[in-house]
């Protein structure tokens, strides 16, 4: 791995952390547990389009770890790791099929992120009653995923990597 590659990793990870912080300032996205705009997914979408599937996964997981270390606790770590991991587990194979645009992949990622978080919430709280949040989480995940996918696609097309 050359220096340019490492610098690019660092830059994108820092950007993802900044976006996570920015998102935490938007209170409306947290009225339903697990509901998120998913701004950090912009970085994952960008990496998927312009770098590799492996790069996208690495940046996303390092971001989750660093954000939890700096501003979270064990529960928020489990919560966001589940979201990021499930989202990656679905986005990466979809990307590899080559049949979906980046918007479709982003939608799948957004929806799975929300599902992952609510599953952890159900496990932590020991109740399955939270399933009634799922419809709201699916719709919001699809809407946020569409927006992030469109914006991420434009950014990925325009940005020139040195």
């Amino acid at each position: 791995m050359d220096g340019k590659h490492i610098a690019r990793y660092a830059l994108l990870t820092a950007l993802a952390m900044t976006l996570a912080w920015l998102e935490s300032l938007i209170p409306v996205s947290s009225a339903v547990p697990g509901m998120k705009l998913g701004l950090t997914n912009l970085v994952v979408v960008f990496a998927l389009e312009r770098m590799s599937v492996r790069d996208a996964a690495a940046i996303s997981l390092v971001r989750v770890l660093l954000v939890s270390l700096t501003s979270g606790n064990a529960y928020s770590f489990a919560y966001s790791l589940a979201g990021a991991a499930l989202s990656l587990a679905v986005m990466l194979p979809l990307k590899k099929t080559g049949r979906f645009s980046i918007t479709g992949i982003s939608v799948a990622g957004g929806v799975c992120h929300n599902i992952g978080q609510i599953l952890v919430a159900m496990a932590v709280l020991g109740t399955s009653r939270l399933v009634y949040y799922l419809p709201a989480l699916l719709v919001s995940g699809a809407a946020a995923g569409t927006a992030i996918g469109i914006v991420g696609g434009i950014v990925a097309k325009r940005v020139r990597l040195a």
Partner: protein, 115 residues
């Protein structure tokens, strides 16, 4: 292909909504911490109580609805959730592993109150 994916997600959301939508107006606000029921309050009686000690959530029952008005958890998801009143609805505080869920049943008399 994208459009099928999005349509599939929305269809799943619609089906789940029909299966799990909240029911009629509830009667009780049931507090569960760490999977254990710790208290239940009738929605018919306005009160404000502090749940927990060091990790606290302030539960307010007013106008047949329950809400968390303040808490010292990190994310304040419970506060942002707002008021719940229908059978099956819930307020969740993940950091404190607390749920306030609404249950239906008989409109409780003051004698039947616990907690």
């Amino acid at each position: 292909m994208d459009i099928f994916l999005i349509a599939g997600v929305l269809l799943a959301a619609a089906v789940l909504y029909l299966l799990f939508r909240p029911g009629e107006t509830g009667a009780w606000a049931v507090v569960t911490i760490d999977g254990q029921e710790t208290a239940r309050y009738p929605l018919s009686q306005d009160i404000t109580v502090t749940l927990g000690d060091a990790d606290y959530n302030i539960l307010m029952i007013s106008d047949h609805a329950a809400s968390i008005t303040d808490a010292n958890c990190g994310d304040h998801t419970c506060v942002h959730t707002g008021a719940v009143r229908r059978d099956g609805e819930a307020i969740v505080c993940l950091p404190h592993r607390l749920i306030v869920r609404i249950e239906g049943g008989e409109t409780p008399s003051v004698d039947g109150m616990a907690g």
